[in-house]
Symmetry: D2
Subunit: 487 residues, 4 copies
């Protein structure tokens, strides 16, 4: 596939879910955090974890909790936290449970020797993920420290001899620590870190440690600006935006943008939005009143909505390519509500690609097991009494899947669990037109580029094609098998 | 792919979106209309159209409307009706408009000679399909006559010299025929036909003309009943269910089911549901009170919910395979709310498969044009000034796409428009585990069968694989191209 | 008060909650059923009850139920049905329970000898009446037969030796008759009677028995038409409206109105409304399309909204006096959503006034007991240890209250329970500007009349006034008491 | 009325809307701010106004705004702010507009010489007050500074020659100051003052200036504690509660309460509530986990709900008397959702009572004009052609009403406008069982006291009584008139 493209390093490529002609894009929009402003991993997550952990202890959590250190190999983005039972769940797009952990303990199907099985919690191995009051999706990179801390707390209380384990929490004398209240505590601590600016302050104090400065960013923005309009739309406030961005570009950062909007309150920004205010860039304060004249270069706004951005820049939704890292707030909403073109930044792809290339043989084995299994049934019909014994193969599939998962980290890949795609992966496929490890990879393509999505056949179409081929060509068994693997 | 399976006629196959082991299924559920009770097409749609059309004329619509006859080559299931502008829209899963017709007129991008362009109605070529107050999805096979009638009315009033065309309707003196009021009239007429039983009565009077009796149905139900529990859950009332089903099986139809539930009010059935009542099968009347004992064979219930069905049959959601034809009411809801396994019946597949096999060359050309286009950009990067001229290729792609569409019917395929999948196709992929032209195709598989979904790679995984291959194997250009097509 | 007005018979008076100057009214609107079309009571309720009861038996309810006859002395309008426990509740505006019956049994506070007490069902003697899923308000005169039937069914099953009493229903072998399912059955039967037109048909067949023809109605409508615009807005359809109204006026009934709107779907009519259609008065069918010209006299419309009525008649909400009998659908909604002036027709007032005049002494006793009670406490302050024994007085108050209730009927007055006003009374006070036994009483006032509401003082204002008086005038104890009674 | 009660100073009385027997109250609940913690008026409002005003200027509002000083004679509690047009509205319970100001300008009906009339903004003199997105009710005493500031800003921009007046705001060059954005600015500034604790800090620094210390408060709480349970439920946090309350009682303030709940998030507290946490009274921090043992004296909780309070104290809603100053958050919600007994603290009553006593003659005149007006119509019926000329009387009524209003302040009384009651008054009547200027007035009544509400007759009942009287007694014209006034 794409033979000449192969010359581009995989890691520098932009991947395509739906074909997109850059030439038609009249306007590029960017989110800031984790999109233009990139943090060093795991240093930044470790910082977040420690601040969060310390905050909890200062709120009264036992001092033993200070003993936990951030382990980047445990959490994966996109997990779901069950506030009733304190479990971390990895699910597919329909709510089926792929992995379930309680603390650092994996819960299995229905094994006798484990103290609690998935079935006990979820008899149908399924959650109604619309129940957002109970299930909290840890969607963003900012959620990683929090994800790990949920596991730490459950681990601590489970192991502590002072506390008695109950389904919905832990009991110690007259005191009941419910999973829901621990969830609330961690969420409150997160809000505290953000509202007081503690995390931002620590980051700005030690930029070299936490932030990646890439000289290619000003190059990218300059080149885009020559061919299209450019805007920044961030939920951060002006002061943080200003402080962060000056660390990077060579000239006044605002000059790279036709329009800068801070305090956007995405995803609300893509629906009704809020009042649009101008920011006084000298003082960082909001100007009173609303500017109603034409767009002035270098003006910074606060609030507003995606509709207002379209008006100010005089572009239509389908002419905008919006680049962001937040699958829900940036990508799903801009696509579903406004019909924007979307570019999802997925920093984890660096690792995902590495593992995939390294462990190709494991997935290859999975495929072969899968096909082998299927072939056992091919000669049977509904009248057959025969029933093949497949338990050995199924066990091997489970082992390989689990082995693959561990190559990515304790909770496995961001995108799949064996042959099943995660909720995150299915949202990436549905809502991101293109995606890459970093927005800088746009530098590797001309602004007239056509990102072509492979034509994916529906199962019945693939079946016709495969049959048709069989009838018209005389291909060896070997070739047939190779091609069928791909479909 | 599936070499031995190829021996099964394509038309008799069950296609797989997500792997499913029949052996694990402890319970089979069936919808009735268009699933067990199959109507002859286009005779049944013609009947529906005529009753609907005549009803409108009796409501005061001009007699000229009686001149319209049902044309099965025009409507496609899954279209969206815009009640503001009277357009029929074919959209993809994100709300992008693929085809737009006004009456029988296709609306184009922005062509000078056509009286109204898509851009005029939808500047962003996009609709917010969540706006269900404005956009009505014609999801079921029962909607086909209605779909065609919308087009007929717009056609009639547009061409009538008595009426003046406006954006939101037609004017004649002091009278304004808004698209919204015509929509309401047709919906009211539909409800009238259903509530008065007019359509059902006419169907039952001429069963041979409208209904397909298939001796394999009792065979299928009998065989399933030997290995699993079986239930029927239909929105129809008891009398129609009774009348319809007696025409088919050889013995008392209720004996094929462990549980029969009528008046289910799907999709409400999969959420809170309603009060469960027992039906007196002698009189067809509801029994007062609720039966609270154990399940008795042959008992017929009215109302209830999916949870009650699980309780009565003592099965969990993931152990049920539910077979239905309604993508929203049967499949999406049972999957998303309850985690059931799903089998979507898609009668149109007969034609879709036929066209696909016949016109393989057109899709092949589309693929080649697509790849050709992409290759023009492969050697460029963001510094390139060069911009390939692709207008000729793009025009050819449009022509081939339009040509393909016409092979299926005037509104094209149920599932795709050129290389883009429709909203219906994307829902089929997400919510139906397996699908086929008819539920009878289950007869072709043993009840221990493993329906295997091909392992589909994410774009970046495919890229790795393709690159890896390149490095390790020495394959000819020809083979490489062939395999890349599939990914 | 109103000394000369006293010459008007009380029964012919219009009562005033908020002052209203008829001279400012530019438009009069009327509901039809129970407002212009008046039914004979209890004949009409008996008819409704019998049809409903028979329908239930034909649905499978025991034949013994046929033994129940409508007893007009039992039900009162405005009761609340608790679908969980099958109780009829009389409540005040805050949800406090005033009277509670189960079948025909009164439930008391916490008396040992009664089989179930109010406390057992409602420990707080209070319901959250916003929980409309559980509590159903029987607001209209059409609900009276239904109200009685709820009591009958509970009475029957409670007494039947075949059934076992449970909190939420009745059990007989494997069958459970829940109160909720009986509620659903009666509601379904009501809908059946209305949708099939059974009740209307029977009414029209025997107009003399069920309908009051009053020659003053055409006089009233004619006189209003001379001074203001007049419209009719009814939820009934055209045919019933037509059939009913021709029985009354001497000339073509439609000529009394500037505008007739049928199928209004109140209360939706006062919010968004529906599409406005014209009715063909020759055939009774809806015309297709919307009439957009000026208002033509005698035109009949279907649907629409209160905003459209204002536009068509060119009047503002505050210039309209709307006359109806439905406290929620007619009066509350037109007042709260649109600011219309409102006239509530309360046929029960005939009886209420009669009882009130007859039993003045009972209420007088209640007042004296009340004052006597209060005076026991007048000399005490928070330091007092003394605590008067008031149980004898309280018992007497309960007895008098109960005695008063019985004068109105088994469930007491529509408007009060002893000294407490019902939910219905408080809605009447809040939303109806004026009210009367019949709209015909408007004939007793000139069209320039000022309906004056007495100036009601707030408790602290009354206290000031009373104190002031005391200081300046030397009035005898007797006079003082008399005046204090009134405040 | 209440002859002996007259000995209690009016100002020390508790007024009664619905009879209430203190002897039945098993539990007393208190809000803190403006209920137990009482602020000096207008010093405290002035402080709030100045902080708010200064914050706006620091946000960029013109320095001229600093010239405005708080004028306690202007704002009245309970006004409604129209965020679209920037008007302050005084409305009745149905949404009819009683007074409307724009800045400090009164808007009249439709007078030629005023630059804008009420009709232009509100043609129906009516607002749909359910539209909470547009209309903001300034319900609490904390809202007073804000109310005045809305008027100041509109006044400033209206008069400023730099700004052009538009319906929805003010224009200055390219800048548009919409009323909505000014509303948002003031709300944001309010939140800033509360969240940063600026207002609280300033208050605590100068307690003598801003806070009323009343030695009777510990007396009241001690006495109550002897006869019933006592709790405090405040939306303030623990630290402020602690700091405030220690300034008052002689012993540890918490010892006066059986239960203290801070951070209650009323009105959410009366619905679902939040997680209940314990407060460490040494550090002021929340304890982790939930205390599940029996209630321990002196424990302070955070969060929770009214249901939890009932459980912890083992009381039912109807046994609780809740004392608060917030008509919506304290009184309406506790009554409507939980059936609690309610005591509304209304500090403004001091002034209201004073004015009422002083200006009795004005209201007396209003009554006489009203009666005089009514009598002009008494001898007419619907056949009369005569139409009295009442314009002179109506003008006099308007003048007296306006004159009365001014006695209370520029926006008139909290409770009435001439003979019409305000929204606030009607909510006070519906939801507060008793009310007084301060909760300390409970000291003037024994804990066995019966607060008796006068029996208020419905208009038709009053008519009967008046007529009956007429027939049976021979009273002089004079006496008749006197009594009729009261009804």
């Amino acid at each position: 596939m794409e033979p000449r493209a192969a010359k581009r390093e995989i890691i520098q490529r932009v991947f395509v879910n739906r074909s997109l002609t850059l030439e038609n894009i009249k306007c590029y929009g960017f989110d800031m955090d984790y999109t233009l402003a990139v943090y060093k991993s795991p240093e930044y997550e470790s910082l977040g974890f420690e601040l969060l952990r310390d905050r909890l202890v200062s709120m009264g959590y036992p001092h033993e909790v200070l003993g936990y250190m951030y382990d980047p190999t445990f959490p994966t983005r996109g997990l779901v936290y069950d506030t009733t039972y304190g479990n971390l769940l990895k699910i597919d797009s329909n709510g089926n449970i792929l992995v379930c952990t309680h603390g650092f303990e994996y819960l299995r199907g229905s094994v006798a020797d484990c103290y609690c099985s998935v079935d006990e919690y979820y008899p149908n191995k399924f959650i109604q993920r619309d129940d957002t009051n109970r299930f909290y999706v840890l969607n963003t990179l900012f959620n990683l420290p929090e994800t790990y801390l949920y596991a730490c707390l459950v681990d601590f209380f489970t192991k502590s001899s002072r506390y008695k384990n109950c389904m919905k929490g832990f009991k110690h004398g007259d005191l009941f620590m419910s999973h829901r209240s621990m969830f609330q505590d961690i969420r409150d601590a997160m809000d505290y870190l953000h509202d007081t600016g503690t995390l931002k302050e620590r980051t700005l104090k030690n930029l070299d440690k936490y932030v990646i400065k890439d000289p290619r960013l000003p190059v990218l923005l300059s080149r885009i600006k020559e061919v299209a309009k450019v805007f920044l739309a961030t939920n951060s406030d002006f002061n943080y935006t200003e402080k962060w961005l000056v660390t990077n570009p060579k000239k006044l950062w605002r000059s790279y943008f036709d329009l800068v909007v801070v305090d956007t309150k995405k995803p609300l920004f893509f629906a009704g939005g809020t009042v649009l205010r101008q920011v006084d860039t000298d003082t960082g304060k909001l100007r009173i009143g609303t500017y109603t004249g034409n767009l002035q270069h270098g003006t910074v706004y606060s609030g507003g909505s995606s509709d207002i951005v379209c008006d100010l820049l005089d572009v239509r939704g389908k002419d905008i390519l919006y680049v962001g890292d937040h699958i829900f707030g940036d990508i799903l909403k801009s696509k579903k509500r406004q019909g924007w073109k979307t570019f999802l930044v997925v920093p984890e792809l660096v690792k995902e690609l590495h593992v995939w290339a390294d462990k190709a043989s494991m997935f290859e084995e999975l495929k072969h097991l899968d096909i082998f299994l299927a072939e056992l049934y091919q000669h049977l019909d509904s009248g057959s009494q025969e029933c093949p014994d497949i338990s050995a193969i199924q066990n091997r599939i489970k082992m390989v899947t689990y082995g693959m998962d561990l190559c990515y980290g304790k909770m496995g890949s961001l995108l799949r669990c064996g042959s099943t795609k995660t909720l995150f992966a299915s949202q990436l496929l549905r809502y991101a037109d293109i995606y890459s490890t970093t927005c800088l990879n746009l530098l590797n393509y001309p602004f007239s580029y056509l990102f072509r999505a492979p034509l994916v056949l529906l199962p019945h179409e693939a079946a016709v094609e495969s049959q048709t081929k069989e009838q018209i060509t005389e291909l060896s068994e070997h070739v047939l098998k190779t091609s069928s693997i791909k479909v």
